[in-house]
Symmetry: D4
Subunit: 210 residues, 8 copies
């Protein structure tokens, strides 16, 4: 039973950001708030950097779930945006699915809150329709580690691939030479430990130039 490595390809991929809303984010406890905010915004920056079609959706924005995180709105001002009237599984929203199909892509990146519902349900629906689905695990959050473990297992057994924003960025970029400064800047902005390395390096370069 041979394995085929269908890599993320920036021309084949769309990103679905599901229910990153200010109220729902209060429920996320499998990441520290700083880490989670950083992960979500890093994923957004990746999508912009690679010009990946991105689709936003929320549930009950006007109620306790709260509005979509403003940074996401700002990042994707022209992205299709679906405030679902009630469907829990975004894939049950016909307009949302139509938008996904309109991208013409066969690979889907999915991130959202909470993992076992807002992420897992559309992931399983998309798998059924034959999409290659990649869960951006660290831009998806939920109540606790136990819940996450169960959700990851369900999605993985169904055929979804578990990734992280950093892995997604690197698999899309393929080769640093495609834009070394741009991609390096993106990483530095979201990986403080990598930014430190750059800092030390540049300071020393500067010193030698003097």
């Amino acid at each position: 039973m041979s394995y085929s490595y269908n890599r993320l390809n920036k021309d084949d991929v769309a990103l679905l950001m599901v229910d990153h809303q200010s109220g729902l984010l209060s429920l996320v406890r499998d990441f520290s708030p700083d880490d989670f905010k950083n992960n979500v915004l890093a994923l957004a920056d990746i999508a912009k950097f690679f010009e990946i079609p991105t689709i936003l959706t929320t549930s009950f924005e006007d109620g306790p779930n709260g509005p979509m995180v403003p940074e996401l709105k700002a990042a994707f001002p022209d992205a299709p945006y679906f405030a679902r009237p009630g469907q829990i599984n975004a894939w049950d929203n016909e307009e949302f699915v139509a938008a996904v199909k309109a991208t013409g892509k066969k690979q889907l990146l999915v991130a959202g809150v909470v993992t076992e519902v807002c992420v897992a349900f559309p992931v399983l629906s998309a798998l059924e329709e034959g999409y290659e689905v990649f869960v951006v695990t660290d831009a998806s959050g939920t109540f606790n580690q136990t819940t996450r473990d169960a959700a990851w297992d369900r999605m993985s057994q169904a055929g979804a691939q578990l990734m992280t924003w950093f892995g997604v960025g690197c698999e899309l970029h393929r080769d640093w030479r495609n834009d070394i400064e741009g991609f390096g800047g993106l990483l530095a902005g979201h990986l403080p430990a990598y930014a430190n390395l750059i800092q030390s390096y540049e300071q020393q370069s500067l010193a030698h130039k003097r």
Copy 2:
């Protein structure tokens, strides 16, 4: 090898609550007592909300294992209830299996104590008989995390799907518009963090009305 997402469907599903007895609950240490109690009762409320046929069973109620949790008895006064005379695997009890079959459902939610025995054994038996089986992982408890990890792996590899009470509720409800107040109340009662969101929201609504 295509994947088919057979979602939980409230018309196709039955719930099996296995051995949630006061003595056995003392053995559960992979959840805090508060969390576990809440999870079990949340699952019960979900079953009632969606009017899912529920079957209760216990082992050796009259001995150290203790009686079934009284809240469960109260929640399902008319449910089939089997005090097994000795079978460890509930599926070895013919009356229990007959009751399961009598529901006419093909999807089974299973929760119980302890996970690697009282849950895993009937889960594997039901899978063999062709049921779609969904383990409600957080309403199932056991001695420690290591034991749980092994039990989850065994059930997952056999084809069971690992879920949580919240995921189960959302997959069954499908659309908030089916009963927004009812389902919201259910969640608020079992997710204190969500109740807080509602609280803040309602207070502010009230303020603006004044």
Copy 3:
């Protein structure tokens, strides 16, 4: 340097509940939401059971901090309640301090959100004024374990005693014979593991009576 054990005495003690508000509770991550809710309500039940003068206070109820938890309002309908106009340290609010002094008690139980601010500040202020101060640690929450550890150390070094709701209840009750059913019921309501013991015990008693 002799040690004097000035025990909590129900006639000498007042309880201060500081900023248990729906918004602020979203910030608490050193307890699971179920555990924390239970701890706070257990403390409230203890105060009611022993008829301990209780003083409530909040900060910016009308803003993002949200309203006081409704269960607390309901528990203490007649308690002095101070919605502070801006003081972060409740002890900087003259009316609050006046109410504390008006109780005539020399022992103070303090719980609140977040631990290193809303609890620690009035605790340190009260210590300076000569009160015996007992922090109800598990009815006080904050951002994470590191922050909690620092806050506990600061209060402990200043002379505050670190307790928990269960310890407080037991130190106040002194002797089960003072009201065995009342106190037992209180514990059973907030300690699921203890409720299980009672359950098993009562079932067996019943069986023998038959």
Copy 4:
């Protein structure tokens, strides 16, 4: 792809205890010493209780690896015992394999130290030869949790089932009525929390008899 639940059957199963030696046990750090000792001896008691053919093996007993745990020797005085002259994978020892085959069983329980070598290697070898293999995970130990996780994944993906001594005992016993006192005693001896339940129960029974 239908699933077949080939349960552990006491007439079909043999137990392989691999390298539980006093020196090697010093290396086990994914369990506390008390827990691990208890788990290993519980498994031994189960094998004796169900009269399961058991095969013991060690590597380099006379060197730093040390002798087999004396309790195991005492438990299985007549069991085939192979002090391997050098083979790391017990399955590379022809006499060991001959003894396994001589049992005529098709199900193998395997436990040992360390998990990723002394357990995993014979497990994979036995799977290749068509045995149904069950890893007794909590009677198998290794250097740390990371190593364990990798070893479990490798064995699980190859088709081994991950179990625990408690699950093994219960799956073999099937029905309490087969020997309620014997099996209960076995559990009480290795599950202090269960022993406590029995204690409370019996004391109360006694009280009512008086």
Copy 5:
């Protein structure tokens, strides 16, 4: 401010075992059941080995708290034993205190369940009366780590010394030559990792004798 190291002295010390009852033990979750059982019995063996006057006490044996652990009863058949009629703090029971005083010892070892109540209260009372108090921390258990941390801090700040059964045994024994076989046997019986060392050592000694 000079420090005086008043070591545990076997002629100066008494042991108080408070509320190690089968029901209450179900509540202990800051140790694994195997570890906790071992710790409590190790402490008992130490008391017997050094012939330390030991006083046992329980609360509500006939109710859900359950009977004292039978191993403790068996270990100290002639020890003073007080089934308190209701006092939560054992030190509030006059007979118990009289028995403590009757030992004529000035150093007290205290262990019990649960730490922040059954241990902490008599510890603080005894400190007030001028006793040197040593908490046997690992033979004392409670609901969770947070509760334990608070209880330890309160007792430590009041002047109690935090020890463990192993430290207690070693501080009492002073010199291996006082009874090398007896004390070694005691340790081997309760420290599996130490028993392994002995095993390896003795096997090698034996080999060389041959």
Copy 6:
């Protein structure tokens, strides 16, 4: 022995930022990189907000330790800045101490990398000279949790107070009315969970205005 609560007072306090250098930051592993970066920058923002005299220092900037974090340089362009030629304890650098004394403040906030050296040494030196010293624990990092625990204990026992950036900000601000928007903005920028609350609140306010 009465306790005096000498609160942080913005007119009495200076901040010492010790060795937050890009190389040394690579060593910090008791916080996630995202959390630690946020904590350090939050402390810097607090100092700027309250116009607290701030003194910066580094060790061996030109070597592997790397340059001070650029955000700190940018935050305090005019602050005294001492690149120590070799002294490990910043307090051994006369110019640094002179600058501290020149501030005329008696309260010192200290943060740095690594905690047990770059923070602890000047903290102990300053305590000896009679300063009130407050360690900003979460803006100070080190190799691991064990090292941190030891360092915290040493400083606490010497009389330093353990705080966090949030506690520092709140103790300095005293009353929200002093600048509600400014302080709220500061918190929102560094507490994503608090920013979410504000977000939800403002959205709802906006909705009602429409």
Copy 7:
């Protein structure tokens, strides 16, 4: 669906060491620095001991990623070494792949930094080309445990086997008699706990010889 255990065979295997560079190592936080250094060097020693063809590769050595760890260079002075000009997936570098193919081996051991990129990408590529791939999990590091869990799952589901350096060494060695001193020395050098066993053993042997 039968399982075939294609064991690691020293004549069939090549080792790929990917991006163990001084800068990138700063990012590894799922192992302690001591543990990780030891694991990487242990793997190198294994490759040398079994004379396994080893291929080294780095990315951007001259930039912040830093040079390959000098111990690896020293260990494999004659190994093919590819400083990739920009390809993130080493398998995208034609020379690297050519070197892999030139080894003529069908089994590949892969280790590197960071796990979800530098390890996972070439692992998936090699699987696609039909290699048997073994991930040396503990000689591969990344940002945190969550990221690691996702990466392991992706590789495992694709068919890679998760191993550790110790498992690799033992599976290659097969039989201690092949070189008992050499292999024992290798283990002693990298397993301090095993070195201790040898120490005790040899001291006792020596004593008996005297």
Copy 8:
């Protein structure tokens, strides 16, 4: 109550290494074996670097406790070395104490196995005699974290200062200029993360020289 910072001074300090024996090291489980070995050897290197009088002692070398770690013997070939005939507290061995006193030092560094006995007992004895005592916490190990926490608390409350080998080295060195290469080399040898920084730095320096 003023605080006096009596810093570690290389002319005033002696080091006591207590019972780092191959058998006893098997018992240490509050550090990974790699970490602990590194910590102990780092402390030894510090003592040699600063020419600190060092005293070694062991208990029952010829029995299961095993010989002193050979690296320590090699590090201190001429150090006083006391194989205690039976005293558990090294301070009960008159020759050991005489050797300590003969050093003429008033500051003592103490490290050993296990923390709550072999370290704590001589620490408390030395405190009583007026020494300034510094526990090298990370070169001291014991059974588990709980035991360590209790031991640290007891020693800290008695007046010992909790340090780590890195803190000790830095407090002794005072100023890098005293020997920048020597001390840097020492750190690089025991802090892999620091060695990485040096590596990156030197490579870049070299590059610029070319």
